[in-house]
């Protein structure tokens, strides 16, 4: 085993405490800059949407900055921007995340504003109708971008009509149907300090931070919330091929299948395995064979996107010349298959372990990186310094174990393959010779039926 864990306290101390209103806080002090980054994670996402109100979590989040009992939309943006701060809001499957990046000298003002947004949003109709149109417009504009179309098509081909495939923004018609009352009800239901946590990286010492948080966020009150469980994923036993025609002069390729949850004990060995196959950039087999040997693509990659309550997915992708796209796809699958047969070489495994071990100091270099690590710890219930502990675990895996991991978690025999291609493209990949090809109109990606 590598001796990376000899620093028993980790690279910086991690503290946890709870505010008087029940909001859990995870915190690390970093003193080289007078800077604070924090993220409030509220358990409210698209899984909490019901009755066809698709896009409600996202719209509620986006509307937080569009007016409160004390401030208009313009006053909010003026105030936060004058402070030189960045305030971002993002709603996903399970959570809504409010991120504040601010000079510590302005933290109190930034927190007061954040507190107002959380507690007193008014979701004014005038701003609501404008924002809805902007979201709908950008949904339509996303159909211009083959990368985004591919992403959307892959998710739908993989998850079918399961809510995980539903666009987080909703659809033009579902967004239009949402009302201020819907947003108020969603906010009332889910935005509560007992249904959230806060992660902070700052130069302030703990007592000072606690005092400031109590003073600004302490008045935020609310109870814990029950969430409904998502239905299980539809089963996938056979391959699927979906073509989406667009005016492009390359084939945009995504192929993959279900993956694992972030908390899966095999996750570290899956990462190690995937580094060698497709995740390790210049060092990966995909890159060496598809880009360097064959010159098929500029970018070729594979990754496991871990899930939270449900398994995530594995995705391998590239953009490649239309004329040889069928060959490039076949080759990519061949690389997966031979990896499953022979596993990594001794050199590949040694290099991958050595990469992860040497990369430890690069993982927490900035305030933002540390914040990301704290959020992962808290959200997934991972141990302190999990990013070091997982790398320590990796050092122990044998070639045989990585080979078994490839055999267990890669499924080249039941791939979901999605392609964005020009309309004159003829699909002809031997691995899929008996699979019926579906052709999707990209405009249908703006609709949703569950």
């Amino acid at each position: 085993m590598a001796a990376v864990l000899t620093m028993s306290a980790g690279p910086f101390p991690i503290h946890r405490f709870t505010l008087s209103n029940g909001l859990p806080v995870i915190y690390a002090q970093k003193t080289d800059l007078s800077l604070t980054v924090l993220r409030l994670v509220v358990y409210a996402g698209k899984r909490d949407e019901t009755d066809g109100k698709w896009g409600l979590a996202n719209l509620t989040a986006e509307m937080l900055t569009e007016g409160t009992k004390n401030r208009t939309s313009d006053e909010i943006s003026e105030e936060i921007e004058f402070l030189g701060a960045q305030l971002g809001v993002d709603a996903g499957i399970y959570t809504t995340q409010v991120t504040l990046n601010i000079l510590t000298s302005q933290l109190e003002k930034g927190l007061q504003l954040t507190s107002d947004l959380l507690q007193n949003p008014t979701f004014p109709d005038s701003e609501l109708s404008k924002l809805k149109e902007r979201i709908i417009s950008s949904l339509q504009e996303s159909l211009n971008d083959p990368d985004q179309v591919l992403d959307e098509a892959f998710r739908r081909a993989l998850y079918d009509h399961h809510p995980l495939a539903r666009p987080e923004e909703g659809t033009p018609s579902s967004i239009r149907a949402l009302t201020r009352q819907d947003l108020e009800a969603f906010h009332r239901m889910f935005y509560s300090p007992r249904n959230a946590f806060l992660a902070v990286v700052t130069n302030l010492p703990q007592e000072e931070l606690k005092h400031l948080l109590e003073k600004t966020l302490g008045s935020w009150k609310g109870d814990s919330v029950e969430h409904r469980a998502l239905p299980p994923l539809p089963s996938h036993t056979s391959p699927r091929v979906v073509l989406v025609p667009m005016k492009v002069n390359q084939a945009f390729v995504a192929l993959g299948h279900y993956g694992v949850r972030r908390t899966d004990p095999d996750y570290p060995r899956i990462r190690l395995m995937n580094y060698i196959l497709g995740g390790g950039g210049f060092a990966s087999r995909f890159f060496r064979i598809i880009r360097n040997k064959m010159g098929y693509a500029y970018s070729v990659y594979g990754y496991f996107m871990p899930g939270y309550k449900l398994p995530g997915y594995y995705l391998a992708g590239m953009q490649t010349k239309v004329e040889t796209a069928n060959d490039a796809i076949q080759e990519l699958i061949q690389v997966m298959k031979s990896f499953q047969k022979e596993g990594p070489t001794e050199d590949e495994l040694r290099d991958a372990k050595s990469f992860y071990e040497g990369s430890i100091p690069r993982q927490t270099e900035t305030y933002g990186q540390i914040l990301g690590a704290l959020v992962n710890e808290q959200l997934y219930g991972l141990p302190d310094y999990y990013w070091i502990k997982e790398i320590d675990l990796m050092q122990g895996y044998s070639r045989k174990e990585i080979l078994e991991t490839a055999r267990t978690y890669l499924h080249p025999d039941r791939l979901v393959l999605t392609l964005v291609v020009p309309p004159d493209f003829t699909f002809d990949v031997p691995s899929f010779k008996d699979v019926k090809v579906e052709v999707w109109d990209p405009r249908d990606l703006l609709n949703w039926e569950e």
């Binding site: 800059l33 030189g84 709908i136 971008d145």
Partner: protein
């Protein structure tokens, strides 16, 4: 050297000690100390980019960048990156109009090793797998430019704003040049521009100048000085009258882009132009966002930036048009807002906000050893390494009058290039799809 920024009335201390020296062969070296983490970033900056290219060889600087990963007399193709990854590090490179930069980040203990392999890479380069790498570059062009509506529009905007100066050419090169470049072209280009007297080496991280210097002397110090590369002669003639260009694309999104000529990157008007870009487009409280997005609802987003370059650059405004509106509506509102700016100067508060944002961004942005090195390298190309640390003070010193003056001097209608991306609805999706289905059915009958 410690850098004190004043933002929002408080001083923010940035520890940014910078030491520079020049070797007898002309190599400039800049060392940035940052002892927060046991890491070091080594960066090779060459004063060459698409600015140095001419018809027939456009894109060659970028192709050469790709070829620099193809090994040396000692190392196999891609062995360089694989070695760095084995150390737990990362590396990459980029080419722009004015420069080609190679950068890495590795554990500090590898300082000597990384300098050795970086030196080997320049001293003993062997360009293997040229044809296949040229394929890769063509795929990169298709992906980043041709299949990206915004990438295509940007290419057209620059090609229209510049008619004589090589900034006319896209960095990635025109496709027909990428189809015809030869290995001999690339080798000749390499020998002309990759000389120590045309290079800056930046070492940033948990190091001291005292330990870096002998290591650099023992490696890069061995490169022989060569003739200075030829200067770029062509200058852009003055623009007389508005230029307009349009790109039609099947799709769903329209854009309007505006470009105005501004002076070279080290010109004293650049700080004021930078703050003007903040005032106009930085954030939801910026002038153009409020006017076009929130008040008139003709746009879903507005962006603006200053292209700070070795030769005279551009001030760019970029608008994503909202569905149901035309690019012309957005364009006319943009010009109205700019005219309004000539008559209604920005306020004290707008200027202060712009400065606050610029300073806070500076603090946020230069946290890692890679980004600190990048900042110094960028300025070494534009002016000199130390200019990186002088910039925040220049921003602080900008007055209301300065901003007003640069707005009146540079953002003139007659100096503008307007580029429109007009989305036309896909003609016949059903015929498309029918054809595709038939094609994919056929294969079963074989």
């Amino acid at each position: 050297m410690s850098l004190t920024l004043v933002a929002l009335g408080s001083a923010v201390e940035l520890n940014f000690p910078l030491t520079t020296f020049t070797l007898p062969n002309g190599l400039q070296v800049a060392v940035v100390e940052d002892h927060a983490n046991p890491l070091v970033s080594v960066q090779l900056w060459f004063r060459v980019g698409s600015r140095n290219e001419s018809y027939g060889i456009t894109g060659i600087s970028h192709v050469l960048e790709h070829m620099m990963f193809k090994g040396t007399r000692k190392m196999k193709s891609e062995e360089y990156s694989q070695t760095i990854q084995r150390w737990g590090g990362m590396d990459n490179a980029f080419t722009s109009e004015d420069q080609t930069a190679y950068f890495s980040e590795v554990p500090k203990a590898r300082l000597k090793d990384i300098l050795e392999i970086e030196y080997d890479r320049v001293a003993n380069a062997v360009f293997r797998e040229f044809e296949s790498e040229l394929n890769v570059v063509r795929e990169e062009r298709r992906w980043r430019t041709e299949n990206s509506p915004e990438g295509s529009l940007y290419e057209l905007l620059r090609a229209t704003a510049y008619i004589a100066h090589p900034y006319h050419h896209p960095v990635v090169g025109w496709m027909s040049d990428l189809e015809n470049l030869t290995l001999e072209d690339v080798e000749r280009y390499f020998h002309t521009y990759y000389v120590p007297n045309n290079m800056i080496l930046v070492v940033s991280g948990d190091v001291t100048p005292e330990e870096v210097r002998p290591l650099v002397e023992a490696t890069f110090g061995k490169l022989p000085r060569r003739p200075d590369p030829p200067p770029v002669r062509t200058r852009e003639p003055e623009q007389e009258g508005l230029r307009r260009v349009e790109l039609k694309r099947e799709g769903f999104a329209s854009y309007v882009a505006l470009a105005f000529h501004i002076p070279e990157g080290k010109h004293p008007d650049l700080p004021a132009l930078t703050l003007l870009a903040h005032v106009l487009t930085d954030g939801k409280s910026s002038r153009l966002y409020r006017y076009l997005v929130k008040e008139k609802t003709v746009a879903i987003d507005v962006q603006g930036w200053v292209e700070q370059q070795l030769d005279p650059g551009l001030f760019v405004l970029w608008v994503a048009v909202q569905q149901g509106h035309t690019p012309e509506e957005a364009e006319s509102l943009l010009f109205q807002a700019l005219e309004d700016l000539q008559n209604h100067p920005i306020t004290e508060r707008e200027l202060e906000k712009a400065k606050n944002r610029n300073m806070a961004n500076f603090v946020r942005r230069y946290q890692s050893v890679v980004s600190k090195g990048m900042l110094v390298g960028t300025w070494a190309i534009l002016d000199r390494p130390e200019a990186a640390l002088a910039w925040p003070k220049k921003i602080q010193a900008v007055s209301l009058e300065d901003v007003q003056r640069v707005a009146q001097t540079y953002l003139l209608r007659d100096q503008a290039t307007v580029a429109i991306l007009r989305a036309v609805p896909p003609k016949d999706m059903n015929a498309f799809m029918k054809k595709m289905k038939e094609a994919s059915q056929k294969r079963f009958r074989r």
